[in-house]
Symmetry: C2
Subunit: 212 residues, 2 copies
């Protein structure tokens, strides 16, 4: 398997965690997002959307981090990243989708560039935007994680799963942009429990070959 | 089953299509997004995120449209909205996620309100933003749908599925905001094939009890 990613891409980070949790190895191909390499010819031939991550497996290409993780779950079921019961599976997926649909899309570089470029928004306004959407999403996540009985040491029970694959990279991003997380004790607790695991460490941005 | 939604919510529309394709009935509870009822006390008790859709089934609540559709797929497998093969399933999911993660989150009302309110963006700039993200996503979708051999009468083969549940509401939104879709012939063709089906008609915004 080959994973096209970038150390700082939180969507690639999600997939790295899933691979590590399942004990799978993928050769990493670094696509430097800071230098705009996602728009270069070489990568455009790989990804019609100029987005990482892309996973290649048996000569076929897979796009979109959550679809890639579901694929890994179906092709390498153990250890499971989703529970067995359909309702519980929906719970885990919905927690991951809060990150993937409600937070991350608003704060990725191309959106921030549109704000500061085309819309002439100031650096302060850009940071306020960034913090706003992280907090909106984290308020919802915290409420659910705090109140739902299925929450355990991790987002769902006492083993890490799909929701944790999404949460930890989002917390890393929030920390990078200095979002105050004091109102989110359950998120912080779960994040710490994850980071204590070897798989999450191996997947962490600072431990990638292309880390700066 | 009860579906909390709103006729114009494209995420609720996705779930309505999936229910209709599977021949399932849900009582609809309308949450008027235009009047801000998603922030009212009654709905806040239902949804920690003040977002529709929410599906209630056997007294349990499910959030996030794609997680809800996966739940319906697992609990009511026929007709299938996902193919059998893991790689093909990943393809369909990734097409749906282009809509759900790359287009829709940037163009929903709370984001547009932030632009015109807090950032003082003009109506024209807001529309340009809207069109920009639809086009970015549709360029990627069109490229894939046009070039990948699995595309058939619908996004994947000759039966409607999960990706169509996401695509059709996004096209409806694009039309509502007068996005020029002439560069996206495959998307338009698939959208028309879907709208020719009774299930998509029954799910359409204008055919809901709360339509205005």
């Amino acid at each position: 398997m080959q994973l096209y990613g970038f150390f700082r891409s939180s969507a690639a980070y999600r997939v790295r965690i899933a691979l590590a949790l399942k004990g799978l190895d993928a050769d990493q191909v670094s696509v430097h997002l800071g230098k705009g390499h996602q728009y270069g010819e070489a990568f455009a031939a790989v990804s019609p959307q100029n987005l990482v991550p892309v996973l290649e497996d048996e000569g076929r290409r897979l796009y979109q981090s959550l679809a890639i993780i579901e694929y890994l779950e179906e092709t390498h079921p153990r250890p499971a990243l989703l529970p067995n019961d359909p309702f519980e599976r929906a719970r885990v997926r919905s927690l991951a989708l809060i990150v993937a649909c409600e937070i991350h899309p608003l704060n990725n570089p191309r959106v921030l560039n549109y704000l500061t470029g085309k819309l002439g928004v100031s650096e302060d306004q850009k940071l306020e935007w960034y913090h706003h959407w992280v907090k909106m999403g984290f308020i919802a996540l915290e409420r659910r994680l705090m109140s739902e009985r299925q929450t355990g040491r991790f987002c769902h029970g006492d083993a890490p799963g799909l929701a944790d694959c999404a949460l930890v990279p989002q917390v890393a991003n929030a920390n990078r942009f200095k979002v105050d997380l004091s109102d989110f004790p359950t998120i912080r607790r779960i994040n710490e429990a994850c980071l204590a695991l070897d798989a999450f460490q191996r997947a962490a941005p600072q431990n990638q070959p292309d880390a700066e």
